[in-house]
Symmetry: C2
């Protein structure tokens, strides 16, 4: 019988809590890792790995270590990204490089990456190589995505294709790779692993576009960060790029001008309002929502193309409900 | 027939030159990796992996990818260590965080770690898990060693036992792990892998103590960095710790006082001379040389304890000559 989301999440949380890898000396190295792992992430990636495993009839226990490894890897990327992006807060708490220092964030991050490899090595023998290859591919992809993201800061023009490729690498590859690892551990047929990977890619892209929307149109109390931060930081998101495509030359120039300089505290409210107004002129919010819906449909089509004989019907429902919930966040 | 050091080094260099993992987009991510890999390291770790593989009759080709992965991993640690230690030069060239910037050094380093995992995944099926476990153990160890090294900067007292444990983790674990990976790929018996690992640990410790000696007593033109940098940076090395053990209370206090403050350019020559004088009073150079010799003997004993029936006599000679040369560097 397939396990529910709550049961799978419980299994992940239990394993994270008892993880011996972080209960070691020197404390100074591992304490920030425990701190980060306990900041209350949603454990999306390990839960997806478990769901993919049980989808193909695999025992969830088999893939628990690699699944937790995905969460450790994800948290490692947060540590380093927060240094690179100079982010002071994460989930309402000071980031590691603020609470400790930059060297700590670098080195503890590296140790977390090493621990993630350790956990991947816990995959069942028959799927070890496949799990490992999925892992190294997603690890390389995430680094490439972060590099593109940093490139975009100084790159004058970013096309929609470039943006989509960046978020595919930075976000979707890890979501898709988590599903892939779960499916590989269950010994799923290659064609179905590929379908599930494609499903994960669409879900991951939609998830990131949703995040772009929430940044501007979200409920501040639910979203947990200040509304409009992408505009204040001149981030070239889906909304910005789509608006540039659709706006008149004069309005497009005004938008580019607004993004051309660092935001000053005394004018930031006006800037957010100006940009929001330009976005509304051409309906980029609706465009983005439509893109999320289209991706969600494309994702479901991939999932539905997997032969029903290979999958557990209950587990399929559990997975579908989880991703629907993931993309149905209020805003 | 066993391959010579030159043949093995050639195989490593060829594989590094044609490595597809770094010929990818975005260029900004991979260019600093290629730069670092081409700074002219001695390829000690991959060569040791190949030597260990052929020692147990394994085909060197089998372990070439993991061996190169060890070199990529080692270079990743250099990138991050140079950021953490604020080192501007490495092998006579500007370090990555100087030539590019800190974010580049962090992210390219991460990508190199991921590529190292990719190369480990190229191990033969029958030894994949063993190779992987050796790799994650050495990766965790190196991070722990770097943390202890950073802790020592602000730690008032560092005992010899603490120092030896730090260099075991930071340096010896990677040397020993490289030998282990080669031996595992060849399918060596567990008892002999353990012997070879112990050999590598002793060689690695001796190698680091040799480095401590070279820093002060080396030939500047051969060593490639300025003599006495450990003293100028107040680094608590074997020489410093042993001197504190042996000096009279008054002299020990003078040594501690010299290390208590950052070195100023106008007094650095005097400081190096003062500390060197204190070291000579109690013969710490000779003590350290004796320790290197003792470790070398202990290492050879481990190697000699491996049953001759398991090993290739020629390959054994190649390994012994290489490590002897490694520890016989002029100073």
């Amino acid at each position: 019988m397939a396990q529910s989301f709550e049961q799978l999440l419980g299994a992940v949380e239990d394993r994270i809590r008892e993880l011996p890898a972080f209960r070691r000396q020197p404390v100074r190295l591992y304490e920030p890792a425990v701190y980060t792992m306990n900041l209350g992430g949603k454990r999306i990636r390990p839960v997806l790995a478990l769901m993919a495993c049980q989808l193909f009839g695999g025992s969830v226990e088999k893939v628990l270590d690699p699944a937790v490894g995905l969460e450790v890897f994800h948290n490692f990327t947060l540590l380093h990204d927060d240094v690179m992006d100079r982010a002071d807060m994460r989930r309402g708490k000071p980031t590691v490089h603020v609470k400790w220092d930059t060297n700590t964030a670098i080195l503890t991050g590296d140790a977390m990456f090493a621990v993630a490899v350790r956990l991947m090595a816990g995959a069942p023998a028959e799927s070890l190589r496949a799990v490992l290859q999925a892992f190294e591919a997603l690890a390389v992809g995430v680094c490439e995505g972060q590099q593109y993201d940093m490139n975009f800061e100084t790159q004058a023009q970013v096309s929609m294709a470039e943006y989509m490729e960046m978020i595919r690498l930075k976000t979707a590859v890890l979501i898709a790779g988590s599903l892939q690892i779960g499916a590989e551990a269950a010994g799923a047929p290659a064609a179905s692993v590929a379908r599930l990977y494609a499903y994960g890619t669409q879900i991951g892209l939609a998830f990131q576009l949703q995040d772009d929307l929430l940044d501007l149109y979200g409920d501040e109390s639910k979203f947990g960060k200040k509304i409009g931060s992408d505009i204040r930081e001149n981030k070239k998101t889906y909304l910005y790029i789509k608006a540039l495509e659709l706006l008149s030359p004069a309005d497009a120039a005004a938008l580019e001008k607004a993004f051309a300089e660092p935001t000053r505290p005394e004018t930031e409210a006006g800037k957010v309002a100006l940009v929001k107004g330009l976005y509304e002129k051409v309906g980029v919010r609706q465009q983005c929502e439509a893109a999320v819906q289209a991706m969600f449909k494309a994702a479901e089509a991939e999932l539905d193309a997997i032969p029903a004989t290979e999958t557990d019907a209950e587990a399929l429902t559990v997975l579908k409900q989880f991703t629907a919930k993931l993309l149905g966040r209020d805003y």
